[in-house]
Symmetry: C2
Subunit: 268 residues, 2 copies
Amino acid sequence: MDKLTTLTLELAPPDSFDVSPAKASSLGPFLQGCLMEHVDSGYAESVHGLPFNPYSQHCVLDEQSGRLLWCIKALNDGAARAVIDPLRSVDSVSLRGIGKTFQVSKTTSESISLASLVDLLSGESVHKQTVHFVTPTAFKRKGSYEFMPTPRLMLQNLFMHYNQVYGGSHEVDEDVISYIEQHMRISSYNLRSQYFSHAMGEGRKIPAFVGTLTLSMTGPDPLKNLVRMLCAFGEYAGVGIKTSMGMGALKCLKPNKPRQSRGSEAIS
Amino acid sequence: MDKLTTLTLELAPPDSFDVSPAKASSLGPFLQGCLMEHVDSGYAESVHGLPFNPYSQHCVLDEQSGRLLWCIKALNDGAARAVIDPLRSVDSVSLRGIGKTFQVSKTTSESISLASLVDLLSGESVHKQTVHFVTPTAFKRKGSYEFMPTPRLMLQNLFMHYNQVYGGSHEVDEDVISYIEQHMRISSYNLRSQYFSHAMGEGRKIPAFVGTLTLSMTGPDPLKNLVRMLCAFGEYAGVGIKTSMGMGALKCLKPNKPRQSRGSEAIS
């Protein structure tokens, strides 16, 4: 059974490079360019044109250290060999588009078995799932960008991506999606728009969002478990469009009190 | 022609009362109770059961002074006489539900003519309108609460409210709403959920949201002006459900750069 592998390169930004969380995520397209330089062209061709890629990558700022974390995730063994392995030993990363070179100060690699994701399907169910959209996230629906999430947009995208990578086809049963939708709602959120620059200098910006939301689920346990499994898969695959360009990085959080505690304060 | 009148009572919270923005807005239902004690019962009865009230009220924290601002807005002269006039000279406000009395430290009254709102219809048009949802806002659609805004939910609600107050009926032409909807989109937002306690101790909380969004409008100038006028009306009427309980207070902001400048930073 396949493994899901994460390679994290900690990058030291040059002194001349002023970092912020938004700027970190906007490096995604340049890092994708750099990644492509290391990937075997045969592999690149074999996945080109697929509706969903078997890998994702994004960049975030580690606010504590001031370093950039470039995270590359391979969803199966083929992608790990093609995309992760060539990057394990690089000691610097050149971003041609902006003419900067970042030294790699640390390299970390982690992997989990696909079985451990699948195990979630039969595990203990939870009725809430909090999701943090780490980098700008957007969906496409009927040819236009959607930059406010809905349970349907999220789950449909994750489900199709999962099937593409492990089933070879992104077909999903509309009845299943409708059933999930009927049993799920957003119970709290803290989201804001953040446009994503697709490519430098061309002024093409994709409307997107970042932030946090909590999904509440009703219905039978297997359904809740499926949603939980798809969200866990989303930590590797990302969600929405252009996850290989640095968009749609997702993190599952433990459902707890909303982040703005002031906002949910009760009168006493 | 009618006037739209705002009465603002600055309330000094007792020392034992710890204030926060969320707590300020949660005082709405208690202040509504207090308001009703001062209103002529004949008037209260005459507006009871109307789909939209000719007044709104809400409470916000003035973070600079630490005082609470209780804002009561009358949308026509009848409401000004009935709801505003009796409160002009009160020097304290007792909130029975929480057993607290607030001294009034300042009273301010302002009014604008309805004509000045209507003038917006023929003024210079703008293609962006930024709206700040000051207190928790929610809509009802098909019997359930909606706590993510859409242009349709907002504009339909404002339009119906406007027609109710100045036309006597909340009927609006579906074609007009559809036309507005086709020419309007949310171009940026920063919103989060904030539940609103409808009444103390009963645990009834309405899912709602606060924050900011910018509407972008295309289409002919009269349409843009109509949207602008309805948003200006919303500063008095509020938007969405329970505007007389303190929900849905709205402020029109000048469209400018998104508030989170870090979030929209471009790479350089």
